[in-house]
C-alpha cells in the first residue's frame, strides 16, 4: 500500500466543559490514501464534525489534542502551530466544503470576491487571472451562466448553486485533501444526487484524496471507497465500502443498517431499532462505548474497552467480532410484537376537494401606484381523500407546497378555495371557525420537536392543557393525571417524564411527547409534517415504529409529509407526489414505486441514495433548479426540468390526468403505456 496522505494515530481531542476536559474523540485511528474517497459516518454527537475539522488541524477555542499523532503529507500537524497550519495548509493543500453553504458563505461579499481571495493568496494570481480561474472553476462544477454567478451574492443563488460554488472554491487551488462535511444535507434529494455525481466525477478526475462526512448511510455507500464508523467519539469499525455494507461486523453498524427504512418494508411491519440513545460527552462509558445499547453485549463489554483490532483488511472495535465474523453469533432483534391486524377501513375520514392556497405579497404602495401585488400559488386545486386507519403520504421537495397543504388542512393557513370534509361533515377552512369536534379530530405533529414544545412548560402541563381544552374543561385533575400517564406509556415513556421540561429531553423523547399530545384527544386524523427529519437514523426507526403501533392501536389515520421517499414508503399506503403546489401523481405505494410513474416521481426515486455500494448512480437526474413559485412555468409545471420532455405541448398545455388501475393517477402528456415503456427500458428500478 502506498504512503497515506493523511494518518491519524490514536488521536484524541478533548473539550473543556466548565473546568474539566472530556475526550470528544478517543483513540481515533484513520488513514486516507491519495486518490481515496474515505467516508466517515456517525449520528449526531458521534464527534464526526469535530474529527473532520481536527484532521484539518482546526480545533475550536475550547478544544485541544489530548493524545496521539496526526500526520499530513509527512508533516506532524501536532507539532505545527495553528498559524503555520493556516498559512501553509488551509485553502492551499487542505480545503473544506462545509455543511450549509448559505451560512458558510459571507453574505455581504460577491461570489467573485470570495472565490478570488483564495487563489490570489495561495497561487499569487492577479485580479484578472483569479477571476478567469474562478470562471473556469464554475464551469467545471457545471454552473450555468458562470459570469452572472460571479457577480451575485450568496442569497441570490439556490442551495445547489451555492454548494457548487463551495466545491469550485475548494478545488480552485487543487488541494491534496478535500474535506466534505455533510455537503448535501441541506439540499433536496434531486439536487443531492446531482452534487454527489459531480463530486465523484471531479474528485476522480483530479485524483484528490477526499474525506466525506455524513450521517446518511445511503450517500456514503454511493460515494466512498472506504468507510469509518464513528460512535461516541470512537472508531467502531473501518472497512472497504463493499465489505462494510454487505457484511458489517460491529453490532452498531449492523443495527444502523437494519434500522434504515427501505421501500421493501411493508407498512404493517416494524423496523429494527437500536435501543436507547447515544451517551452525552460527560457520561460516556469507560468500557465499550456502545455496550449500553448493544443487544449482544456480555459482561466483558461492560468492564473493559476493546481495541480497534485488524480483521481481514478491516478494523473492528468489538470483543465479539470473531464470533460475528465466523457466524457463531448473529445479531437478532428482540422479537417484535406481532403487528396488529388493522387493515384500512373503507370509510373516508378526510376528503379534500380542489384545495388552493395563495400568498399575496402586498407592498404598501402597490395600490397607490396601481401595481398588481405579486401572488404565489403555493397549493393549487389539490384533491385527495384519506380512509379510516389509513396513511396518506405526501412527498415533494422544498417548495412543493407540501407543508402549506398541511397547514391548510389543519387550518393554520386557511385555504382560499376548496372544501374539506371531516368524517362526512364539511368544516370551515379557517381554524377559528371550526367546531371543537373538528379541532379534536384533526391534530398535527410538527417538524421540529425542539420548537414545537413550550420550553417553560413541563410535559404534564403541555399534555394537560390539550386535555383540558379538548374536553371543554370538563376533565377533573385526577382523570387528567391518569390520562397523562396513559399517554406517556403509549409513546414508550414512563410516568416520571411528566415532571420534566423539554430541555431535559432528547430529540426523540421530545418527538414522543409531541406525538402523545397529538393523540391526547383520540383524534381521527393526525397530520405529521416531517416527523423524523430532525432525528438520527436509529431514533427515526423508533419513532416510525411508534407511529405504526399507534395507528393500529388507536385506529387513527395519518397524513405524513416528508421529503424522504423511504420514510413515506414504510408508513403510507397511498402516496401523493407534489411539484410546485400541484399533485403530479397519486397512487398506492406499489404503484408509485413501479413504472409507469410521473417523470418527476421517477427522478425522485432514482435520486434516493441506496445504501448499497454495488448499486451506484445511474437513473434520471434533474438538471437545473426548482423554478420559483412566483414564476411558475406554464403548461406542465415540470416541463422546465423534465427528462421525458416531449415538446411545445408540455410548455403550453396543462397535461391531462391519466387514470390507471385502482385510482392510480398521473398528470402527464405521455400516455401511461408510453411512460411504462420508457421507464422499463431505461431504468432498472
Amino acid at each position: 500500500m502506498s504512503v497515506p496522505l493523511l494518518e491519524a494515530r490514536r488521536l484524541s481531542v478533548a473539550y473543556r466543559i466548565g473546568r474539566r476536559w472530556f475526550n470528544a474523540l478517543n483513540d481515533v485511528s484513520l488513514t486516507i490514501q491519495p486518490n481515496e474517497i474515505h467516508g466517515l459516518v456517525g449520528e449526531s454527537g458521534s464527534g464526526k464534525s469535530t474529527l473532520a475539522l481536527a484532521l484539518m488541524g482546526y480545533l475550536e477555542a475550547n478544544a485541544r489534542i489530548s493524545g496521539g499523532e496526526l500526520w499530513f503529507a509527512g508533516r506532524d500537524l501536532c507539532r505545527l502551530s495553528r498559524r503555520d497550519i493556516a498559512a501553509q495548509l488551509w485553502g492551499k493543500h487542505i480545503a473544506l466544503v462545509p455543511q450549509n453553504p448559505l451560512d458558510a458563505l459571507n453574505p455581504t461579499l460577491t461570489i467573485a470576491e470570495q472565490m478570488t481571495e483564495v487563489t490570489r493568496l495561495h497561487l499569487g494570481l492577479s485580479a484578472s487571472a483569479a477571476r478567469q480561474q474562478a470562471l473556469e472553476g464554475l464551469q467545471r462544477v457545471k454552473l450555468a451562466d458562470p459570469e452572472r454567478v460571479l457577480a451575485r451574492y450568496p442569497h441570490q443563488l439556490s442551495g445547489g448553486q451555492q454548494q457548487r460554488v463551495m466545491i469550485a472554491m475548494a478545488l480552485s487551488t487543487r488541494p491534496r485533501l478535500l474535506v466534505l462535511d455533510e455537503p448535501t444535507t441541506a439540499l433536496d434529494v434531486t439536487t443531492q444526487a446531482v452534487i454527489l455525481d459531480l463530486i465523484r466525477e471531479l474528485v476522480r478526475r483530479e485524483g484528490t484524496a477526499t474525506l466525506y462526512v455524513s450521517h446518511n448511510l445511503g450517500t456514503i455507500a454511493q460515494l466512498c471507497d472506504t468507510v469509518t464508523v464513528l460512535y461516541g467519539g470512537e472508531v467502531l469499525e473501518s472497512a472497504p465500502a463493499t465489505a462494510l455494507f454487505s457484511r458489517p461486523l460491529h453490532p452498531y453498524t449492523l443495527g444502523l443498517l437494519a434500522s434504515l427504512p427501505r421501500p421493501e418494508n411493508a407498512t404493517e411491519t416494524r423496523l429494527a431499532t437500536i435501543a436507547g440513545i447515544a451517551p452525552a460527552l460527560a457520561d460516556r462509558p469507560q468500557a465499550c462505548v456502545f455496550a449500553p445499547r448493544c443487544i449482544v453485549a456480555v459482561d466483558r463489554c461492560h468492564a473493559e474497552k476493546p481495541a480497534l483490532a485488524p480483521y481481514a483488511g478491516r478494523h473492528v472495535r468489538c470483543w465479539r467480532a470473531d464470533e460475528l465474523a465466523t457466524g457463531a453469533l448473529t445479531v437478532r432483534q428482540a422479537p417484535a410484537p406481532p403487528p396488529v391486524a388493522a387493515p384500512p377501513k373503507a370509510e373516508v375520514v378526510l376528503r379534500a376537494q380542489g384545495l388552493s392556497k395563495r400568498f399575496v405579497e402586498a407592498r404598501p404602495f402597490d395600490r397607490l401606484l396601481g401595481r398588481k401585488p405579486t401572488a404565489v400559488q403555493a397549493v393549487s386545486r389539490v384533491s385527495f381523500h384519506v380512509n379510516g386507519r389509513a396513511t396518506l403520504g405526501i412527498v415533494g421537495e422544498s417548495g412543493s407546497g407540501k407543508t402549506t397543504l398541511a397547514r391548510a388542512i389543519v387550518g393554520l393557513a386557511p385555504a382560499d378555495e376548496g372544501t374539506l370534509t371531516l368524517l362526512g361533515v364539511d368544516i370551515p377552512n379557517a381554524l377559528a371557525q371550526r367546531p371543537r369536534a373538528a379541532l379534536r379530530n384533526l391534530r398535527m405533529i410538527f417538524q421540529n420537536p425542539n420548537d414545537a414544545l413550550n420550553p417553560h412548560k413541563t410535559v404534564a402541563q403541555t399534555l394537560g392543557r390539550t386535555l383540558t381544552v379538548m374536553s371543554g374543561g370538563k376533565m377533573d385533575a385526577k382523570a387528567r393525571a391518569q390520562r397523562i400517564t396513559e399517554l406517556l406509556e403509549s409513546v414508550g415513556l414512563t410516568a416520571a417524564y411528566a415532571k420534566r421540561y423539554p430541555a431535559q429531553l432528547s430529540g426523540g423523547e421530545k418527538q414522543r411527547v409531541a406525538i402523545a399530545r397529538a393523540f391526547a384527544a383520540n383524534p381521527a386524523l393526525v397530520i405529521a409534517d416531517e416527523p423524523t427529519s430532525a432525528l438520527d437514523v436509529s431514533v427515526q426507526a423508533v419513532i416510525l415504529n411508534l407511529l405504526k403501533d399507534l395507528r393500529a392501536r388507536e385506529g387513527a389515520s395519518y397524513i405524513v409529509i416528508s421529503h424522504d421517499l423511504d420514510v413515506i414508503a414504510t408508513l403510507a399506503d397511498w402516496i401523493v407526489v407534489m411539484y410546485l403546489g400541484e399533485i403530479v401523481e397519486q397512487g398506492s405505494a406499489a404503484q408509485v414505486y413501479s413504472a409507469p410513474s410521473h417523470p418527476y416521481t421517477e427522478a425522485l426515486l432514482s435520486a434516493v441514495p441506496v445504501p448499497d455500494p454495488t448499486r451506484r448512480g445511474g437513473g434520471v437526474r434533474l438538471e437545473g433548479d426548482l423554478p420559483s413559485p412566483r414564476h411558475k412555468p406554464s403548461g406542465c409545471p415540470f416541463h422546465t426540468r423534465c427528462p421525458r420532455f416531449i415538446g411545445q405541448i408540455c410548455a403550453t398545455d396543462v397535461p391531462p390526468e391519466r387514470e390507471g388501475a385502482d385510482g392510480h393517477r398521473i398528470r402527464c402528456h405521455h400516455t401511461l403505456d408510453a411512460l411504462a415503456a420508457m421507464q422499463q427500458a431505461g431504468l432498472p428500478l
Partner: protein
C-alpha cells in the same frame, strides 16, 4: 434601490408634515394667552389685538397653520416674538450650525474609539482587558452628563488649562479657538456614546465570529487580520451603523444639559428658551428642524444598512 429611495423620501416628507401639524396643534394647547404673556399683564386690549393681528394669531388655527407651512417651505420662517422681532430663520440656522459642528466633532471622537474598543474587547473576550473596558464604559454611560461635564472642566480646563471652561462662541474665532471650546463638550457627549457603540460592536463582532462563514474564511488560510477586516467587520458593524446614525438626532436635539454646562449656543438650549417664552415661531421652526434631522438620520441609517447589506438591497 431608486424606487426604495423615492418611497422613503416621500415617507419622510409625510412624516415632517404630520409632525409639524402635531407640533402646531400642541402649541395651540399651551395654557395662557400668548400675547398677554409676551406683552405683560398691563398691556391694553388694543395693544393685544394689534399684536395678534400682526402675528396672525387672530386667524383660525387652520389658516395660521397653512400660512406657517407655506412660509416655512418658501424660506419665510416668521419673526420671533422676542428679541426685537428678528426674523426666525437666520437665528435658528446659526444655532443649528453650531449644533451640527458639535455633533460632528463628537462623532469624530466616539465612533473610532467605540468601534475600536468594541473590536478589541470582542477579540479578547473574557480577559481582564474585556472586563476592565466593559466596566469602565458601562459606568461612564451610567453617569449623568452634567457630572462628567463638570469633572472634565475641573480636570482639563481648570486643572490643566488645556481648554476653555465655557464654550462661548465669539464672532472672530480662529480654528484653534473653535478647537479649544469644542473638545470638552464633544468629549462629554462622546462618553455617553462610546459605551453604547463599544458594547454594540463587541456583541456584533462576537456574534459574527461564531458564524460558519468566518470558519470558512479561516480555513481558506486567510491571515487573521484579513478575516477580521474583510469578513467579520463588514457584517458585525451593521447594527452599530444604525445606532450611530440615529444618535445624530440625539446629538442635535437632545444634549441641552451639555449645552448648558458649557454655555454652548446650540439648538437644544434655544428650544428650551423658546418653550419658556412661548416664542411660538422659534419653537415651531426648531421642532420641525429637529424632527427633520431625526427622520433624515433614520433614513440615512436605513439606506446605509441596505447599501452595506446586499440581502436587503437586492432582496
Amino acid at each position: 434601490m431608486i424606487a426604495y429611495l423615492t418611497r422613503r423620501v416621500l415617507l419622510l416628507l409625510l412624516t415632517l408634515l404630520l409632525t409639524s401639524a402635531l407640533i402646531f396643534a400642541l402649541t395651540q394647547l399651551l395654557p395662557g394667552d400668548v400675547a398677554r404673556l409676551i406683552l405683560g399683564r398691563e398691556a391694553s386690549p388694543e395693544r393685544i389685538a394689534q399684536f395678534n393681528a400682526e402675528f396672525g394669531l387672530d386667524q383660525p388655527a387652520l389658516v395660521q397653520y397653512l400660512r406657517w407651512v407655506t412660509g416655512f417651505v418658501t424660506g419665510d420662517w416668521g419673526r420671533s416674538f422676542s428679541a426685537g422681532n428678528a426674523p426666525v430663520r437666520p437665528l435658528v440656522l446659526e444655532r443649528f450650525g453650531n449644533s451640527l459642528l458639535l455633533a460632528g466633532v463628537t462623532l469624530l471622537f466616539s465612533v473610532p474609539l467605540g468601534v475600536g474598543l468594541g473590536v478589541l474587547t470582542a477579540l479578547n473576550k473574557d480577559t481582564w482587558l474585556d472586563n476592565v473596558v466593559s466596566v469602565a464604559t458601562l459606568s461612564v454611560v451610567g453617569l449623568p452628563e452634567f457630572v462628567t461635564g463638570i469633572v472634565l472642566i475641573n480636570v482639563f480646563a481648570l486643572g490643566l488649562g488645556w481648554f476653555e471652561t465655557t464654550s462661548l462662541i465669539r464672532p472672530d474665532m480662529t480654528l484653534n479657538d473653535w478647537w479649544r471650546i469644542l473638545v470638552l463638550p464633544a468629549l462629554t457627549a462622546s462618553l455617553v456614546l462610546v459605551g453604547y457603540i463599544a458594547r454594540l460592536t463587541r456583541a456584533g463582532v462576537l456574534e459574527e465570529l461564531g458564524k460558519p462563514y468566518v470558519r470558512t474564511a479561516r480555513l481558506k488560510g486567510l491571515p487573521p487580520a484579513q478575516v477580521l477586516t474583510r469578513h467579520v467587520l463588514r457584517n458585525a458593524l451593521l447594527p452599530t451603523i444604525t445606532v450611530i446614525a440615529i444618535s445624530v438626532g440625539w446629538l442635535i436635539g437632545g444634549i441641552v444639559v451639555i449645552e448648558n454646562v458649557y454655555n454652548y449656543a446650540g439648538i437644544g438650549s434655544e428650544l428650551v428658551r423658546a418653550v419658556e417664552q412661548k416664542n411660538l415661531p422659534v419653537l415651531q421652526a426648531i421642532s420641525t428642524l429637529i424632527v427633520g434631522v431625526f427622520a433624515l438620520a433614520n433614513l440615512a441609517a436605513d439606506v446605509l444598512y441596505a447599501w452595506l447589506n446586499p440581502r436587503i438591497r437586492l432582496g
